[in-house]
């Protein structure tokens, strides 16, 4: 067990430094911080709300992440396939699942760094008023559950082309948002029975992220994110195995 963790750590370390060795990481961080600031303060009506909370920030986060997380995850496997290094990696003494977990972990840590760098918004709201920091923390925990990221990991294993991996991931994540997006569920409610509408919206990240935003940590929401993640990573393993089998 100790040995398998060591391999995961080495792979994660290499992957994480690969982010920072290319300009991608910096571009990503700057765009994330600019956009999250813009959405929070300008679009999200941070000041008009008249309350000391990060609701404006967290409301927009699922939409902002819809584009940024696939951008962070698209290279994970597609780049390995393009360069041919997947052949090196998988002929080293590691199991495929270790490589998958290691790579996922690296991109997840990168995402956590990005989220952590949004601390000035937290500082601002604490300086201006007296927010419930427990709610803020729970919003961050929800944001850091890597459902989108695991899906991006899966799509990047499907192709050697990063652009295709990105677009596929955006489409899949968008689907996960839209099934719970109220303008759309309202439309569905016109002709479908309520239980169906509810069942469909249960598959949405929005539905399950809601609790985190309100500071209510529900084990069902947690289970939802963790199972999306586990399923996507498992599917990544299947894709990689099939790719090798030919």
């Amino acid at each position: 067990m100790k040995g398998s963790w060591a391999a995961i750590r080495i792979i994660a370390k290499r992957e994480l430094s690969a982010y920072f060795e290319s300009p991608v990481a910096y571009v990503f961080l700057v765009i994330f911080l600019l956009l999250s600031g813009f959405f929070t303060f300008t679009f999200g009506g941070f000041f008009e709300r008249g309350e000391a909370s990060l609701a404006a920030f967290f409301n927009w986060l699922p939409w902002l992440f819809l584009f940024l997380v696939p951008a962070a995850g698209m290279r994970l496997w597609s780049e390995e396939r393009r360069l041919g290094t997947i052949e090196l990696l998988l002929t080293m003494p590691v199991a495929a699942w270790q490589a998958i977990v290691g790579k996922f972990l690296a991109s997840w840590l990168f995402l956590v760094v990005a989220l952590a760098l949004s601390f000035p918004i937290v500082a601002t709201v604490n300086w201006l008023g007296d927010p419930d920091n427990g709610v803020i923390a729970s919003g961050y925990v929800g944001a850091a559950l890597g459902a989108y990221l695991a899906i991006s990991c899966l799509t990047s294993a499907l192709t050697r082309n990063q652009v295709i991996a990105f677009i596929l991931a955006v489409v899949l994540c968008l689907a996960l948002i839209l099934v719970g997006f109220s303008p759309l569920t309202d439309l569905l409610a016109r002709w479908a029975s309520p239980w169906l509408v509810e069942a469909v919206s249960k598959f949405s990240v929005l539905t399950h992220y809601d609790g985190f935003q309100k500071g209510m940590l529900d084990s069902r929401d947690l289970l939802y994110f963790l199972s999306v993640m586990a399923y996507a990573l498992f599917a990544t393993g299947v894709v990689i195995r099939n790719h090798r089998t030919g």
């Binding site: 792979i11 690969a18 360069l83 290094t85 080293m92 003494p93 089998t245």
Partner: protein, 245 residues
């Protein structure tokens, strides 16, 4: 040390490798010859455990590749075709990554890196990003990665491809020298290489072994006494093969 039995691989309806069997012992350097698309790389990939065979078995150092993939991978050094590497890394950090993945730490890691850097003449490019290197250096960086854990078995897919004549000569010499204490399989298109570095050669055509012997034996089978003529007499060029199919 390497035992390949009745190995086959099909991709869809295409049979890339068809019932290949051979053995390579310690101190042997096996040259793997054949036209493009004959199944050389596929066979090597199956030996390293990168792709599973459709039928047949491979064992390395007495262990079956399919049953003990991790153990087997530990004892193999592999240079894939086209020598891939993480191009955004520097040579040193790439080699350090390879060494760590092979379980080397501390002083063992440093001395392993020193050894392969010297063997592959990478001293002057250690700090450089692989992206900026010439093809010859990239190739040797990937070769260094394969040698870093001083493996008992080396699988080298076209180790001299893209090198200039001096570099080719050096790599050949290196292979011959390492072959004294290891089991090596290397594939090549260059027939002189077989005479220069191999103790034995296998010629593979359309997935099947068509000849197996020492370079001298193979040469003797050609009317002209030249390896090239023998090669041409028993293999088909891929244009001909396509035409027949």
């Amino acid at each position: 040390m390497i035992k390949v039995e009745n190995l086959s691989k099909s991709f869809g309806s295409k049979r890339a490798v068809d019932g290949v069997s051979f053995e390579v012992g310690k101190g042997e350097v096996l040259g793997f010859l054949g036209p493009n698309g004959a199944g050389k790389s596929t066979t090597m990939r199956m030996i390293t455990g990168f792709i599973p065979p459709s039928a047949g078995a491979v064992s390395v150092c007495g262990l079956a590749v399919q049953e003990n993939p991790i153990e087997v991978k530990r004892s193999i050094g592999y240079l894939p075709e086209a020598a891939p590497s993480y191009t955004e890394m520097s040579v040193l950090s790439f080699l350090r990554f390879a060494a760590e993945m092979r379980g080397l730490r501390g002083e063992a890691l440093r001395s392993a890196i020193r050894r392969v850097v010297e063997l592959c003449h990478l001293e002057n490019v250690l700090g450089q990003t692989i992206d900026t290197l010439s093809k010859g250096f990239r190739h040797r960086t990937c070769l260094a990665q394969a040698l870093i854990h001083d493996p008992e078995v080396l699988i080298l897919d076209e180790p001299t491809d893209g090198l200039d004549p001096n570099q080719k000569h050096e790599v050949r010499t290196l292979i011959r020298k390492m072959g004294e204490s290891k089991a090596i399989i290397f594939s090549t298109h260059i027939l002189e290489e077989v005479e220069a570095a191999c103790t034995r050669a296998i010629i593979i055509d359309r997935g099947r072994i068509v000849a197996n012997g020492t370079p001298t034996e193979l040469k003797a089978r050609a009317a002209t006494g030249k390896l090239e003529d023998f090669f041409r007499s028993i293999t088909r060029s891929d244009t001909l093969a396509e035409g027949a199919a």
